[in-house]
């Protein structure tokens, strides 16, 4: 199969593949060094071809575009595996220390989700919630939203979600910690039958800039390969 796939980079860069082939090639080339380089090069070539037919759009189009992006939300940055130069776009998690307001949020989050979860399955989760250094972060994405409470002192993270889809067979959700120098696994988790997540993960002594969740093969991987389904946005 890959023999054939190797020769599709040019047609792919010109968008000349049928949908099934496009998909097959897209799942192949990121892991193939030669194909990745060819795609990059051929895309530059294609852009030069596009430049050959450059045409000014009607001037009024600009206002329409600006108006529309003004009410369009941006995607969160991807947890990129390459170490290269992600620094300018990284954002620090702003810790919400346990002031009175944060405590109230925590109480609500913990209370509501605690009820949803029904049987509280670990005192550990509650300990993280109650930790004085707890930091609450929300993750958003196509899988909905998830609350993440992290205690750097305890080196633990508690995850809460109420309506998460079951991962595909033989796959699992994996949480990633985005560090200045790359991405580190923070463990895997799966929602209960009712879609509830209430999980405690040991994450070790880490400090970083955000969190992301991908779908990976059972047991998890060293580096993310799946699509980012949840991530911190700010």
């Amino acid at each position: 199969m890959s023999d054939d796939l190797h020769h599709l980079a040019a047609a792919y860069a010109l968008d000349a593949l049928d949908p099934d082939e496009r998909q097959a090639f897209e799942s192949h080339y990121p892991s193939c060094e030669i194909c990745t380089r060819e795609v990059l090069e051929f895309r530059e070539t294609a852009a030069a071809l596009a430049g050959g037919v450059a045409t000014s759009p009607p001037p009024e189009l600009r206002a329409g575009v600006m108006e529309q992006i003004g009410r369009t939300r941006q995607l969160s940055p991807l947890p990129s595996t390459p170490v290269v130069d992600i620094a300018p776009r990284r954002r620090r998690i702003r810790p919400l220390l346990l002031g009175a307001a944060a405590a109230a949020v925590l109480f609500v989050v913990g209370g509501v989700l605690g009820m949803l979860a029904g049987n509280s399955d670990g005192e550990g989760v509650d300990d993280v919630l109650a930790a004085p250094d707890a930091i609450i972060t929300q993750l958003d994405g196509e899988s909905g939203e998830m609350q993440l409470v992290w205690s750097p002192d305890r080196q633990q993270v508690a995850l809460f979600a109420s309506d998460m889809a079951e991962p595909p067979p033989d796959q699992t959700y994996q949480l990633w910690f985005l560090l200045p120098e790359g991405v580190v696994s923070a463990g895997t988790f799966e929602p209960g039958e009712d879609g509830t997540v209430r999980t405690l993960l040991d994450v070790g002594d880490v400090d970083g800039d955000g969190w992301g969740v991908t779908v990976e093969p059972d047991g998890g991987l060293d580096q993310p390969t799946g699509e980012l389904v949840l991530s911190t946005t700010a």
Partner: protein, 199 residues
């Protein structure tokens, strides 16, 4: 605290927007939420985007609509733009061409286009090639295309400017699909070398 940080960040973004005309830098600023930087990015790239979208769709109203969709997508994706994975121009052209092609291949547009084509007395494949070459006139791209063999130029032109899949190109020209794939590949390798574009 958040507001103060956001305001400070925005101020520094504004200062940077005023001083750069590099699309990659503008995208980076846009990726941090600067609409102003995105406006400058639009000014630098809208001819590229509208040009290729119009070339593929051939319908100015539809091209405007798709161009707008392209920029909304670029705005959404801006935080994920990674300069290590290609230039801002190629990234932009990729999103634009893909959108145009997806539109043209959607059933409804296809029907409209086929109707238009039949009105023009079954425009032959070579007329698309002619048209493109006329439009390119004596540009650098035209010179590079002239270096290709006739079959290579035809395959690349129909695929990229015509928005056809290699299977469609094979059907249009009545030649085997494998042959089209080879011509596209060989043609693009030659163009890559002639146009001297490195990522």
């Amino acid at each position: 605290m958040e507001t103060v940080n956001a305001a400070r960040r925005l101020r520094s973004v504004r200062a940077e927007t005023d001083t750069t005309t590099d699309p990659a830098e503008l995208l980076d600023l846009a990726g941090r939420g600067s609409e102003e930087a995105f406006g400058s990015f639009y000014d630098l790239t809208s001819q590229l985007v509208y040009g290729i979208v119009l070339r593929v769709l051939r319908d100015p109203a539809m091209a405007e609509e798709v161009t707008q969709e392209v920029y909304v997508e670029l705005w959404q994706l801006a935080p994920r733009f990674d300069p290590a994975r290609g230039s801002a121009r190629s990234w932009t052209a990729t999103v634009a061409h893909r959108r145009a092609v997806d539109r043209v291949r959607s059933e409804q547009a296809r029907r409209a286009r086929e109707e238009a084509d039949s009105h023009r007395a079954a425009r032959a494949a070579d007329s698309v090639v002619e048209e493109v070459l006329d439009e390119l006139d004596r540009s650098r791209v035209r010179t590079a295309l002239d270096e290709l063999s006739d079959p290579q130029r035809e395959a690349v032109t129909l695929a990229y400017y015509g928005g056809h899949s290699y299977r469609e190109v094979a059907a249009l020209l009545r030649i085997p699909e494998g042959t089209v794939k080879t011509r596209i590949r060989d043609g693009l390798i030659r163009l890559r070398d002639d146009l001297g574009v490195a990522p």
